[in-house]
């Protein structure tokens, strides 16, 4: 019961989803839509597990006065504030102009944009560190990256040649490489799906 039933559920639901792809009839379409909604609903319930985990880890840091426990207090305050502000006025709580949305725009959005902008620095440092002509492979990597980057720098008469080269690289060899990776991923992913459906890959199910 503990081991067998989940494996059976995986098999039945997996095979059903494969079959329904080939059957346009409405009866299968209906079950498909329900199943998709059930998955979403399971996800919503699971949110509580997430909140529980976050709260428990933070509270235990505060209780044990672990290093940096004060920051866990900040996390808990942030969480509690948003939960309260987002629920207390019913579904009007998250309309534009509420305190909930003010926090979203003035605290959440700028931090997010800045985290994202860190990439500008990291892309430079990664390029400096990684783009050394050690081997043929790394030389190819470095030279193509340079060619593509140079298209934004005025080079006089060379600019035209560089533009042509850059767009050729993007449309021809780049396409070939992407296709090879895509096909490989397709084979790997489909094989993994089958391994899951047939119960061969079951590490995700845990053990007793």
């Amino acid at each position: 019961m503990r081991r067998q039933l989940p494996i059976l559920i995986v098999f039945v639901s997996g095979v059903f989803m494969i079959i329904q792809y080939f059957i346009p009839h409405e009866s299968f379409e209906f079950i498909y839509e329900y199943a998709m909604d059930w998955i979403i609903i399971i996800g919503i319930f699971a949110m509580l597990l997430g909140l529980w985990s976050l709260t428990r880890v933070s509270v235990s840091k505060v209780q044990t006065k672990a290093p940096g426990w004060g920051f866990s207090v900040m996390t808990l305050i942030g969480l509690a504030t948003m939960l309260f502000l987002g629920i207390y006025k019913g579904n009007k709580s998250i309309a534009e102009g509420t305190l909930f949305m003010d926090i979203f725009w003035n605290i959440y959005t700028p931090i997010q944009a800045t985290m994202f902008a860190l990439l500008a620095f990291y892309i430079a440092s990664a390029a400096y560190r990684a783009f050394r002509a050690r081997t043929v492979m790394s030389t190819i990597l470095l030279v193509t990256a340079l060619v593509i980057m140079l298209r934004l720098i005025p080079l006089g008469p060379l600019s035209g040649i560089n533009q042509t080269l850059a767009s050729w690289i993007l449309t021809v060899p780049n396409m070939a490489a992407k296709r090879a990776i895509w096909i490989g991923i397709g084979l790997g992913a489909t094989a993994t799906c089958l391994k899951i459906i047939f119960g061969i890959e079951r590490a995700y199910m845990g053990k007793d």
Partner: protein
């Protein structure tokens, strides 16, 4: 023919020619004379669908693209009886000769389209100021199909691949041994765990931003299981911060199973596999902190990754961690290749679970993948040759209708 005898039709032709035609040309200036109606209107069930749609086709009006070229659109009208009231169901711009009258399948929907019921159709050609209607077509009945003919190539592919996988797995069950070539990223895993043990520092495992439903994440679970087993053997701490509650639950089960496999269930600590937040950059901000504060010796990034890949990899490099990455997200592979020590590219991520566990069944499936790959490569080569000599049939084998 409405005019039964020849004489009256001759008289009519006469009138047409000498009276109405010049008049019509004058009238055509302000476009009030109706265009010739669409002809050969046919209505029938739409193939390969769920049974709530009828397809109508017609021959274009003489003034559409030819003649006076003043037809702007066609309206499609429907009725439940040939003589009943016809209501407009939709409109297509001039130049189109087909329309799918499609409705919802839910009975409570306003736009519900009942199957197994007779419908009659007319098509109306419209100019700016006038219109003309075709004759009535029908009755037509909508019904659902039980197999999508256009997806036949996919069906054959599905069967063939499934048989290949099952065949190789059963070979593996019978004890056949399979060779797989070494993979640098996999060979590095043991060293990376050993390094963490020597340094007495924890290992960080990031499953990415995917949900438990992403295949890359599921592949990563299997790898996590093997790595957890090894860390349990080495008594090294493993930290798994998650960004999806279900992923966290599964990760807990997976790691626990790894500790059981190693015979050290007592060492499993659930609080090391925890949830942070589901929002991309907040999650990254927190993981950045963990790397620097816990001084993780080895970082694994295996699963689905988006823009955060480079932030993680560069922060890990600041912390001096050994980093092993792998993803099937094409746009992020370059950043992992540049910034981490080893990268499992695309399919290698899926192969890694078989490599790490060396389980015969998983290796068998990997062989099936290789066989399929060989078939794909053969098709590519033959297909390109066929296309060079203008044989179109080969392409049709792979063409899927949606």
């Amino acid at each position: 023919m409405r005019y039964k005898n020849l004489r009256s039709s001759l008289v009519l032709t006469f009138f047409l020619f000498f009276l109405i035609l010049p008049l019509s040309q004058i009238l055509a200036q302000d476009d009030t004379l109706p265009p010739p109606p669409p002809t050969e209107v046919k209505a029938g069930d739409t193939p390969n669908d769920n049974g709530h749609s009828i397809t109508i086709t017609w021959k274009l009006s003489g003034d559409d693209g030819a003649g006076k070229k003043n037809v702007v659109a066609y309206e499609i009208l429907r009725s439940e009886s040939p003589t009943g009231e016809f209501v407009v169901r939709g409109m297509v711009p001039a130049g189109n000769n087909t329309y799918q009258d499609r409705g919802a399948k839910e009975k409570e929907d306003k736009n519900y389209f009942p199957p197994h019921k007779d419908f009659y159709y007319k098509v109306r050609a419209k100019t700016l100021n006038s219109y003309s209607e075709s004759g009535v077509a029908g009755p037509a009945v909508a019904y659902g199909q039980w197999f999508h003919i256009g997806k036949l190539p996919v069906f054959v592919g599905t069967l063939a691949f499934t048989i290949m996988v099952l065949a190789f797995i059963s070979l593996a069950r019978k004890g056949k041994e399979f060779y797989v070539r070494p993979l640098a990223g996999i060979d590095a895993v043991d060293d990376a765990i050993g390094r963490a043990t020597e340094m007495g520092r924890p290992i960080l495992y990031i499953l990415g931003l995917g949900s438990a439903a992403d295949i890359a994440t599921i592949a990563s679970f299997t790898i996590l299981n093997r790595i957890a087993k090894k860390t349990a053997e080495h008594k090294t701490k493993i930290i798994v911060p998650c960004n999806d509650p279900i992923v966290m639950s599964v990760a807990q089960e997976t790691v626990k199973a790894g500790y059981l496999d190693a015979g050290r269930p007592d060492m499993y600590k659930e609080e090391n596999i925890f949830y942070l937040t589901s929002m991309q950059f907040a999650y990254v901000a927190a993981v950045n902190g963990i790397m620097l504060r816990e001084k993780t010796a080895t970082n694994f990034y295996l699963g689905k990754f988006y823009a955060e890949s480079l932030i993680l990899a560069e922060t890990g490099s600041v912390a001096g961690s050994i980093q092993i990455s792998g993803t099937d997200e094409l746009a992020q592979i370059p950043f992992f290749v540049a910034a981490t020590d080893f990268t499992l590219i695309g399919e290698e991520l899926y192969a890694a679970s078989a490599y790490l566990g060396r389980e015969p069944l998983l290796l068998g499936a990997l062989k099936a993948q290789d066989l399929a790959k060989a078939i794909v490569m053969l098709s590519l080569a033959l297909g390109a040759l066929a296309a060079s000599f203008h044989f179109g049939f080969f392409l049709k084998l792979f063409t899927v209708q949606m």
